[in-house]
Structures are given as structure tokens and as C-alpha cells.
């Protein structure tokens, strides 16, 4: 059970002067239950890549397989693939359209042709998963909610389809720190609780470093690096070369090491850094 991309090439507007090569020789496997981060700056091909995963786009060359089913081979199976691979777009609150929150979240499951009972159950479950009190929120108009709340409703709309793979494209773009932490906390709990595979797309190093097991770095439509967050962020120069930074704390550690502090090079969180720096300070005092 996994998403496999083999030799993917994707060309936009072929045969016009706007022709661009968005993805080139991508080989990738994402296993069931993984928590993967995809990073890359604007135009690196992240968004195109995730759209290939749920059949919104079909690769120009190569193939994508989701749970041993080739995407795009059978047009009628696309709905099934989109149910298996749930995709939450950037600014998903712009897709809300129903009169009430409950109706909007029900849109996905309804399209799957489930029974009313099952739909109601899933709507309740999904809204609670993103931290809402179902009875309080269900009859509210989605347009009366705050930005962060709208976004959580939109995410619930995808969760209600019970995907095996959940792809989130910049889920915290434009949110304040509190809203951001809220979303990340819920994604983390969701991953732990339900064994859903999560693919998190972002250009923010900080977010990805803390959450994911594996990072895929995209640059100019190619996979530039791949590995655990620690492996990736220990190569700060390489990341800076392709226009990405490293988490603030990692660069502080790097600078400290340059000044002769003997601390571990692969620190990603403030907590870890605190412990290591205190250790070093103690060592020096002795």
C-alpha cells in the first residue's frame, strides 16, 4: 500500500510559447503510515506533484500508482483515487459554498454515494477531528467563521472522505501563530490516531522539521535531496544554494559551532538546543 511515482515528467502548455517543464525524472515512494514533508520554493513543482497523486493532472511521461492502481488509466476510477488520496489545497477556505458547515463537510461523502446515516456520522467525526464542537458549529454559516475556523472546516471536508493519504498544501499559509499551531497539533494527532499517511507541502522549514519523518526537497522540478529532517538540515549550504533556508534554531547552532561551542550539529528544535547549550555551558564552567 503506497503511492509510487516512476520517472515522472510533466510539461505545461505543450506546443505553445508558454511551455514549461514543471517536473522532470521524479522517482518517489510514499508508504502507508508515513509522515512526509515536501519542500521547495515557489515554482519548484510541489503543487504539480501533489496534483498528480490524486489524478487531477496526468503526467506527460511516466506513471503514478496509488495502492497498485495506475492513476488516469481508467477515467471512471478517478473518483476512487480521489477518495483514497485526499488533497487539501492552499487556502482551502475559498472552496466553501454551502449554507451550513455540516452541509459543506457533507459534500465530499455525499459525492461518494454513501448513506445519509454514514454521511452524518462522518461529518460529525471529521468536525470533531479538527477540534470543533459538532453541535455548536454544524448549523453555522461557513462565511461567518474566522479565517482559521474556515480553514479547519475545509480540512474537515476532505477528512470526511476518509482518505488513506492526506495531502496538505501549505495548510497554515496566512494564519497567525496560534492558528498555525492549532492546525499542526491537529494534523499530528490525526496522524498518530488514524494511521493516515500525511504529506505536508510547505516552504517553511520550521514547520516541517518538527513534524515529519522524511523530507523531500524539490528544486526546479527535480528531487534535489531526500532524507530525515536531521540529514537534510545538516546540509545548510546546499539548501541555501537552492533558495531555501534552514530553521532559525539550526542556523543559531551552526553559528555557535563556528564560534567553538561543542554542540551537536543536527539540532532542530528549541528544546533540544536548550538542553545541548546548557550541557556545553556546564562543561565549560567545570
Amino acid at each position: 500500500m503506497s503511492i509510487i511515482a516512476e520517472n515522472i515528467k510533466y510539461i505545461y502548455s505543450e506546443g505553445t510559447p508558454f511551455k514549461t517543464l514543471a517536473l522532470d525524472s521524479i522517482n518517489l515512494t510514499i508508504k502507508q503510515g508515513e509522515f512526509v514533508g515536501i519542500i521547495g520554493h515557489t515554482g519548484s513543482g510541489k503543487s504539480t506533484l501533489i496534483q498528480l497523486f490524486n489524478g487531477l493532472e496526468i503526467p506527460t511521461e511516466g506513471k503514478v500508482t496509488v495502492d497498485s492502481r495506475v492513476v488516469g488509466e481508467d477515467k471512471k476510477k478517478l473518483k476512487l483515487i480521489r477518495q483514497t488520496v485526499g488533497l487539501v489545497f492552499q487556502y482551502p477556505e475559498y472552496q466553501l459554498f454551502e449554507e451550513t458547515v455540516a452541509k459543506d463537510v457533507a459534500f465530499g461523502p455525499m459525492n461518494l454515494g454513501l448513506s445519509q446515516e454514514e454521511v452524518d456520522f462522518r461529518v460529525k467525526e471529521a468536525l470533531e477531528l479538527v477540534g470543533f464542537n459538532y453541535n455548536k458549529i454544524k448549523d453555522a454559516s461557513p462565511f461567518d467563521l474566522s479565517g482559521g475556523q474556515k480553514r479547519r472546516v475545509a480540512i474537515a471536508g476532505v477528512l470526511a472522505m476518509k482518505p488513506n493519504y492526506l495531502i496538505l498544501d501549505e495548510p497554515t499559509a496566512g494564519l497567525d501563530p496560534a492558528g498555525r499551531n492549532e492546525i499542526f497539533k491537529q494534523i499530528k494527532t490525526l496522524h498518530k490516531k488514524s494511521n493516515v499517511t500525511v504529506i505536508l507541502v510547505s516552504h517553511s522549514m520550521e514547520d516541517i522539521a518538527k513534524l515529519v519523518d522524511r523530507v523531500i526537497v524539490l528544486s526546479k522540478g527535480k528531487i534535489h535531496m531526500e532524507g530525515t529532517p536531521k540529514e537534510i538540515y545538516s546540509q545548510a549550504e546546499e539548501l541555501e544554494k537552492i533558495g531555501l533556508g534552514i530553521p532559525q534554531i539550526a542556523s543559531i547552532v551552526k553559528e555557535l559551532r563556528k564560534c567553538g561551542f561543542n554542540i551537536k550539529p543536527d539540532i532542530l528544535t528549541v528544546e533540544e538546543a536548550k538542553i545541548e547549550i546548557l550541557k556545553e555551558v556546564k562543561r565549560r564552567n567545570v
Binding site: 502548455s13 510559447p17 473518483k79 480521489r82 475559498y94 472552496q95 459554498f97 459525492n111 461518494l112 476532505v158
Partner: protein, 265 residues
Amino acid sequence: MFKNLTIGQHYPVESPVHDLDPRLKIMMTIIFIVSIFFIKNFTGFLIVIGFLTLSISLSKVPVKFVIRGLRPILLIIIITFLINLLMTPGRTIFKIGFINVTEEGLKQAGFMAVRLTLLIMGTSLLTLTTSPIILTDGIESLLSPFKRFGLPAHELAMMMTIALRFIPTLMEETEKIMKAQKSRGADFESGNIVSRAKNLVPLLVPLFISAFRRADELAMAMEARCYRGGDQRTRMRQMEIKNIDYIAAFVFLVYLTAIILFRIW
């Protein structure tokens, strides 16, 4: 789905035709349209085809793109062809049941089809070689003499510029929302007309909301920069008549003379 929309789609290359003054291009296009109606027989179309071939090859726009502009009105061309073919009285060539094809009908139908085709190809060359913004600048300038009679030329042009500016944005937005709803299992491609129309609701509601939001934001941004239309506004792109415009005007006059002479003769 939105990739094959040519009318109003600018093809950005550098060419003498692209460089022409928009006012001149607009006027030439209007006269070109009139000139096509001057022609009474097939041989006359040769002059038009010759002129069009010259313009297209100078413009460096692939012929494929110019022809693609015909697609939206293909149905109209076909209907015109059929009506003329079947409704023109004259010498019968063949007859099946109530279908009666005459020699005159065939001629007339072919004539109309060619006329329409040339008409659209000529006009889409204008939009292919002129960016929408420059085009509206040209229209504003051509309309400004009518300001005297109370025509709000600048405001009209500004409205057009904004509308044109937002076509690609809204199309992009449509595609985005469509993809988002497709990800939630929405189906825009199958079913009968009624269910298809119903299925558009999840697309149209967010689209309208975002269009209103954008309009609001744009108005605010314009006000913040003290926009007030009309008099005393200077422009970044000054339009001026260059040598190339004189040459183009001359070539066009030759074409026009040829058409008129052919008609009289």
C-alpha cells in the same frame, strides 16, 4: 478545458505587426471588415487571402493559432453554410426528399463560409498581436474625441482594462476551485444538462464570492493610491506614430485600392 480559448488571447512574440500603433491596428481592422463585404465573387477573396497571408507571416504568429480562433464560431459557420445551401433557389443539382441543393446555393454557401472565416481570422489577428492593455489604450485614444459629447472614454477604457485584466485571474481561480471540488468527488463532466447545471453550484458560489472580494480589494487599493479617473492623467506608454506605422498604412491602402478597383472593374 480553458486552454483553447484564443479570442482575446495575446500571442507574445516580437514582430512588426505587434509593434504597430494600436489605434492604427484597430482602424485597419474595422476597415478590413468593411472591405470584405465589398467583395462579390471568389476571385476577389484572393486579394484578401493574399493580404492576410502577408500579415500573418509578418506577425510570426503560427497559423495554427489564428485558425484556432475559428473554433468558437465554427458552429455559426456551419449553420450559415447549411442555410445558404438549402434555402437558395436556382438550378437543382440534386434532390433527396425535401433537401434541395442548387448550384446557386452551393456557390452562395461557400462564399458566405469563406467570408466569415476571413473575417474572424483578420479580427483575431488584432487580438493575437496586441496585448489587451495596449488594445484598450488604443480604444480610449480613439474614443477621446467623443468626450466632448459626454462620453466617459477614460472610464470606459479603465473598466475594460480591469475586466480584461481579470479574465485570466478568474479563469485560474475557476480551475483552482474546480480542482478543489473535484478532489472532494465533484463531477463536472458527466450527467444530463440539469444535473450538470446543479453540479456547477459548488463552483459558482466560491467564484462569485472571490470575484466580489477581489473587486472590493482592487477598489480599495486604487483609492489608497488616490486614483481618480479622467483629466490630467498622464500615461506610462505614450503612443506615437513610427515609420513602421506609415509603411503599414501604405500597404493597407494598396490593399484597399486593389479591393475597390476590383469592385469597379
